[in-house]
């Protein structure tokens, strides 16, 4: 078995974000790291929308990012710390729109290791040096400079190691143009490692250490080291240094040390200032819980600066420092606003705040004000003795604020993010859909959602209006060549034409010169200011002064089809003749003297747009009833001569020639594509050679069941093609590559571009008798998302076999559930405490639920109707009970009636895993499944992490024990048990009497239930320990699973063993077999292995295209959706794996990680080909492409076609 790994949806979680002028232009950009992918975002200051400029896989894990700018430069560079053991400096090249690796310096082993730097990065604010540090001991300093040719240079590293020091954070200290300085937060463990009394551990000091890079001596010295708060976690740079032009200081320099519950300002030889982190004045707040700052950003404006610090609850605090030159007078903090908890905050000079939220959608906020003069209480370091440092070990008096909705910020844009996907199902539930949807349980806490993902582009409809009849076609046209917007909408009906004018309103007009008594075949704005209408009886050329020149069809013939552009018109007559017209320089339409007889009825015609600066387009494509497409010359030397011919498998229904950019074929110029839609719903896309007119590189695709209609439109100023069949598709260029994506919209019968003031980039279409105007807002987003909000983090969900509902369990640790909140409030009210209703009723999806100590849970069972996209019912679990697993079981003891069994536990603690009691709750479905009735609760001794229906009974993994239960009157009745599993059973799969048990740490075990003897026996397991996170059965003997470290692997049991076990009626044979390696008597063999780089949360064996092959679809915690596609032939495997080998050498990773060692992070890659790497073939320079294709004995087109075919046939994407 060989598999092809293809990512359909790249990870959307943002691990880190940095801001800078990366393209060197005035505009600021944001570079975000998705963990394994780098993306450049460009927020538009006018519209406040964020657009992706470029996104690239790095085939490595990005651990840290930093931006820096050389002194006096105008362009920022990005430094990347990764698991490659190398420091990489990236430059964004706006010309080629790609990241260019400027420097790559190796310093250590690959992998995210304890003492190999890469975890933290700190740059000198003047861009003179960078420090890269590991979690422990190692710190390296590189000096950055320019050479004579103004190129960036990097020195060899200088060491600033400190043995047995754990590093919490590092930051560059702003010292102006003095020697660069770095601050580090370190703890030394050597003493606590030696002291058995634990005294040294208790007194271990966290040191704030300054490292100075002496540029003269080329040496790093430990300049200053002082103990600070033992619970410090984060350092923030404070501006400092003198301006060259004046004596004024930018700031006092130094760092803010963010600790639990307070923030300390510190600098060498300067008094400390301590301020509290304000707490929410919420009566439900847990007073014992500390608060830390998890994200921070400093912003410098002209002559001032401020900090925004975010607490782990999402509250933003504005911190300001009053200073006189270098002397700090006061440090002040006040509440600013509450936004989602961020992994990074970025402030843009244009007045935006980018919040890269750690889970869920990302936001761009616009600053409305800076919170300068509101009545929010401000807390200053001066209000406590010695600036709050009188006794550093005692906490400061608590400061409180009232959380409130956004005041200083306003949402400008929201970027959808699937992260984290915790469970998913793939099925086709929606009506009128021929491909399955992915249902993903996403998000964390109160911001969780259940999302329906459909492959296709999202459509925004602006107008939908009913028409008197059913039109055949619609066009829009401008009046003059240089008009910005369209003026008329022309609708063609069976017996007439309706013209609408576009103005403030859309209304019918009569005096346009168009013939209204006949249907229309084509409409064109021709020449400088004339209009053209083709109808079955002739061609009307409407001049700007409303004079009409009409060409009439010879007696007894009609026009059947026509094609036009700005200067040329071709019509096909019912006598299978072509008539060609061309506009002369006086604006007269002249007929070419000869007519071309085609010999077969013409069904479709197309000419491309007139190329810039040319008189005409030289090629005409003609589709005839005899199942051919001919390319005919329109060149003056060889007018109407046939150049080439392509045979088809069905009569064509529509042809469209369009010049579109596809960088995989030609990087600099648009390619001329001839798209041929057939009557059987197949689309052929061929490339027309501009020199000899031959058709090459044909690609086919099935679009739908209806004959295809093709329309050339403009999307975001680029040509695109709408292909209409039983589904509508859009063929467009995005980030220089061609995409072909369905549009999620009603079926369209005809469509055209539509440009008016209100919708400059719109489309107009007819579906039945309804006229619709719409636009496609987000190109490149291939999955349309529809969300249903949830209350807590979703854990698992299942589908009901007969009704369409989803049953979903949610649970959150360390929060108060709704019931607990109500009872606590009631108690407080009883005590006579005044309760601030406004604070209590703040929406939890923004502010989160009240926090509680470890061991507190909020949980519910939810019934969802995925078709209507709404929650049907919610059952809250009370008394600190939380749900962990669920299954629908047809108990044979109840005649196969379906029951819902939910595995729950009370007072669960995670580490070590324990609970006061577990329960298996058995529910009956009532009212068609919209309600659940609790039948009984069965106690268990551990958390039931997995349950499953098995032969009319229930099988449950309760801690280490696998048990089979049958239903009883008051309880589930335990029938049989096997307790010999490694740590905890997290997944169950079954076929026949076989049960596949996924253990939390010990991989997958094969067990069998022998009914005659009522035995549950283990007969095979894995050689390797695996931290299983998701499993699925591929077939009776094969299982695919993902583990916690981002691997996906396939294990297979030997068919002979399988048979032998099945043939043993009582299991006595297995019982007495000798175990191997202290485990089961048989071992499975690993037949495929791959590191996908994201923690796999669910795997399904599904077919994604109607009638297509089954693939393995997986989802990852960072929002990845990928597929593993089995290869069908040995030739394909050889071909693609050779291509992969070439790609490995050609396409070096942006972070300097070796692709092969990345994909074999923990175990060498086995029998899986990296499709994501192969697909970057399309982005290679043409010379490299042809070199690789030559090595493979193929043309570049053939390689690209093969890659596309693999993607399309497997996933339809």
């Amino acid at each position: 078995m060989h598999l092809y790994n293809l990512t359909l949806q790249h990870p959307t979680a943002i691990v880190q974000a940095i801001v800078g002028n990366f393209s060197g232009a005035r505009q600021q950009e944001i570079i975000i790291s998705h963990g394994t992918r780098l993306e450049l975002l460009r927020p538009d200051p006018q519209t406040g929308k964020v657009a992706t400029v470029i996104a690239t896989d790095v085939f490595g894990s990005i651990r840290s990012l930093a931006a820096f700018r050389l002194t006096g430069g105008t362009k920022d560079y990005a430094i990347v710390g990764s698991d490659s053991g190398r420091i990489v400096i990236l430059d964004y090249d706006p010309k080629t729109s790609s990241f260019v690796k400027l420097h790559q310096e190796t310093y250590g082993k690959s992998g995210a290791r304890r003492i190999v730097p890469g975890q933290y990065l700190a740059t000198d604010p003047k861009g003179r040096s960078v420090m890269i540090s590991s979690m422990e001991k190692s710190k390296l300093v590189y000096i950055l400079n320019r050479d004579a040719a103004a190129n960036l240079t990097i020195s060899s590293p200088l060491e600033a190691h400190k043995n047995s020091a754990i590093i919490h954070h590092i930051v560059g200290v702003d010292v102006g143009f003095e020697n660069p300085m770095f601050a580090a937060l370190e703890v030394d463990y050597s003493e606590s490692d030696q002291d058995p009394t634990g005294e040294a551990f208790k007194n271990a000091e966290k040191m704030l250490t300054y490292y100075e890079l002496d540029l003269g001596l080329n040496h790093v010295v430990r300049k200053w080291s002082e103990p600070t708060d033992p619970r410090a976690n984060l350092l923030v740079q404070v501006p400092g240094g003198q301006l060259a032009s004046s004596d004024r200081f930018d700031g006092p320099s130094g760092v803010l040390v963010c600790c639990e519950n307070h923030i300390i300002y510190r600098h060498m030889d300067a008094p400390q200032h301590r301020i509290p982190i304000p707490r929410r004045s919420n009566p439900l707040e847990d007073p014992n819980r500390g608060i830390i700052i998890t994200a921070a950003v400093m912003h410098k404006m002209k002559g001032a600066f401020f900090f925004l610090l975010q607490s782990e609850d999402g509250d933003l605090f504005k911190v300001t420092i009053d200073h006189e030159d270098e002397e700090v007078k006061a440090v002040k903090i006040k509440y600013f606003d509450t936004v989602p908890v961020a992994s990074s905050l970025c402030i843009l000079k244009s007045g935006f705040l980018f919040v890269a939220s750690e889970f869920g959608n990302q936001y761009l906020y616009q600053f409305q004000k800076l919170g300068d003069d509101d009545d929010e209480p401000e807390f200053s370091s001066t209000s406590n003795p010695s600036f709050g440092m009188a006794d550093p070990s005692t906490p400061l008096p608590r400061a409180y604020f009232r959380p409130r909705p956004l005041d200083n910020l306003a949402v400008a844009d929201e970027i959808e993010s699937l992260d984290p996907i915790l469970d998913s199902k793939v099925m086709n539930l929606l009506p009128n859909s021929d491909t399955p949807q992915i249902f993903a349980a996403c998000g964390r806490g109160a911001r969780s959602t259940l999302r329906t993902l459909r492959h296709g582009l999202e459509v925004e409809e602006s107008v939908s209006s009913d028409l008197p009849g059913i039109p055949n076609a619609v066009w829009t046209t401008k009046k003059k060549e240089d008009d910005e917007y369209d003026s008329y909408i022309i609708l063609s009906f069976v017996n007439g034409t309706l013209v609408l004018s576009i103005g403030e309103t859309i209304e019918e007009v009569q005096d346009t010169g168009f013939l209204s008594s006949a249907p229309t075949l084509a409409v064109q704005q021709i020449g400088a200011d004339a209009l053209l209408q083709v109808h079955p009886q002739g061609i009307r050329h409407v001049l700007s002064d409303r004079r009409v020149n009409e060409w009439r069809v010879p007696q007894g013939k009609t026009i059947v089809t026509a094609t036009t552009n700005k200067r040329q018109v071709v019509v096909a007559l019912s006598s299978a003749e072509l008539v060609y017209f061309e506009l002369d320089l006086d604006g007269q339409l002249n007929e070419y003297q000869d007519r071309k007889a085609m010999g077969s009825t013409v069904l479709a015609l197309s000419i491309g747009e007139v190329p810039d600066g040319r008189q005409r387009t030289p090629y005409l494509a003609v589709g005839c009833e005899d199942q051919t497409v001919r390319i005919i010359s329109l060149d003056p030397d060889s007018t109407l001569e046939t150049i080439s011919l392509q045979a088809l498998t069905a009569p064509p229904s529509s042809i469209c020639i369009a010049d579109m950019l596809d960088a995989s074929i030609n990087k600099s110029q648009p390619t001329m594509f001839v798209n041929i839609g057939l009557q059987n719903g197949v689309l052929l896309r061929t490339v027309l050679d501009p020199i000899n007119g031959q058709l090459t590189d044909t690609r086919t695709r099935f679009l739908g069941t209806r004959p295809i209609r093709l329309v050339r439109v403009r999307i975001q100023k680029n040509p695109a093609i709408l292909a209409l069949s039983s589904r509508s598709w859009l063929n467009y260029t995005h980030q220089n590559l061609m995409h072909f994506t369905p549009i999620i919209f009603d079926n369209l019968d005809y469509a055209w571009s539509f440009s008016a003031e209100l919708s400059p980039e719109g489309l107009i279409g007819i579906s039945g008798s309804v006229l619709r105007i719409f636009q496609i807002p987000k190109l490149g987003m291939k999955l349309k998302q529809d969300s249903i909000p949830l209350s807590y983090t979703p854990r698992k969900f299942i589908t009901h076999p007969t009704n369409q509902f989803f049953y979903l369990i949610e649970g959150d640790h360390r929060v108060l559930g709704d019931a607990a909140v109500a009872s606590k409030l009631a108690k407080l009210r009883e005590e006579g405490r005044k309760i601030d209703e406004e604070v209590i009723n703040l929406p939890p999806e923004v502010f989160g639920r009240p926090r509680a100590p470890a061991g507190s849970w909020g949980s519910c069972i939810r019934i969802i109707d995925p078709i209507k996209a709404k929650t049907v019912n919610v059952l809250h679990l009370e008394e600190n009970e939380s749900a962990f697993s669920l299954a629908i079981v047809p108990f044979s003891a109840r005649g196969g009636d379906l029951h819902l069994v939910v595995g729950t536990a009370v007072d669960t603690t995670l580490s070590p895993r324990s609970c006061t009691t577990g329960y298996l709750r058995t529910y009956k479905f009532n009212e068609d499944g919209t309600d659940l009735e609790l039948l009984h609760k069965t106690e268990t001794d551990d958390v039931p992490l997995s349950v499953m229906a098995f032969q009319g009974r229930l099988v449950a993994g309760v801690g280490k024990a696998l048990r089979i239960y049958d239903i009883g009157k008051k309880k589930l009745l335990r029938k049989v048990e096997n307790k010999s599993f490694g740590s905890a059973i997290v997944s169950l799969n079954t076929q026949g009497s076989r049960i596949l048990v996924g253990d939390m740490q010990e991989s997958i075990t094969f067990a069998v239930y022998k009914a005659p003897e009522n035995r549950l026996l283990i007969f095979a397991d894995d050689y390797q320990p695996r931290w299983v996170s998701a499993t699925a059965m591929v077939d009776y003997n094969t299982v695919v699973a993902g583990d916690r470290f981002g691997n996906i692997f396939v294990n297979r049991l030997d068919a002979k063993v399988s048979e032998q076990v099945d043939d043993d009626p009582t299991g006595a044979g297995i019982l007495h077999e000798k175990g191997i390696l202290m485990g089961a008597p048989h071992k499975t063999s690993m037949i495929a292995h791959f590191h996908v780089g994201d923690l796999v949360t669910s795997i399904h064996k599904v077919s994604l295209v109607a009638g297509g092959r089954e693939v393995l679809l997986y989802t990852g915690i960072h929002g990845t959706i990928g597929v593993l596609v089995p290869f069908v032939s040995k030739e394909d495997v050889d071909f693609i794996s050779t291509l992969e080998q070439h790609m490995r050498t050609e396409q070096s990773s942006l972070v300097g990680r070796d692709q092969l060692s990345w994909r074999g992070y923990y175990v060498p890659v086995k029998a899986v080909i990296d499709g994501d790497l192969c697909e970057t073939f399309a982005r290679l320079p043409a010379s490299k492409q042809s070199a690789i294709a030559g090595e493979l004995d193929r043309t570049v087109g053939e390689v690209l076609k093969k890659l596309e075919q693999l993607r399309v046939t497997a996933s339809g994407f």
Binding site: M135, E136, I166, D193
Partner: protein
């Protein structure tokens, strides 16, 4: 082991231990080994974004808090060292 290595091995080993924290040796105690293992694991968790997300979701904490607590635990992951025998 070649004769050349036999003479240089000791000095090299010392050098290795100084350079690569966490390298084991013949006299490693169980406690030291375990502490190294835990520190390596904790550092690896903090270094892998997917693992920190996973733990943060399970524990109901912010990622920043999870990373902080993991780093704090590196100081003494397995409790105080056992008392040394007197001899």
């Amino acid at each position: 082991m070649s004769s050349e290595l036999r003479y240089t091995a000791n000095t090299q080993l010392e050098h290795l231990h100084a350079r690569y924290t966490g390298t084991g040796h013949a006299d490693l105690t169980k406690y030291e080994w375990l502490t190294h293992q835990h520190r390596d694991t904790l550092a690896s968790i903090v270094g892998h974004p997917t693992l920190t997300s996973y733990l943060a979701i399970a524990d109901g904490e912010a990622i920043g808090r999870t990373k902080f607590e993991m780093t704090e635990r590196m100081l003494q992951p397995c409790g105080p060292p056992p008392k040394k025998d007197e001899d």
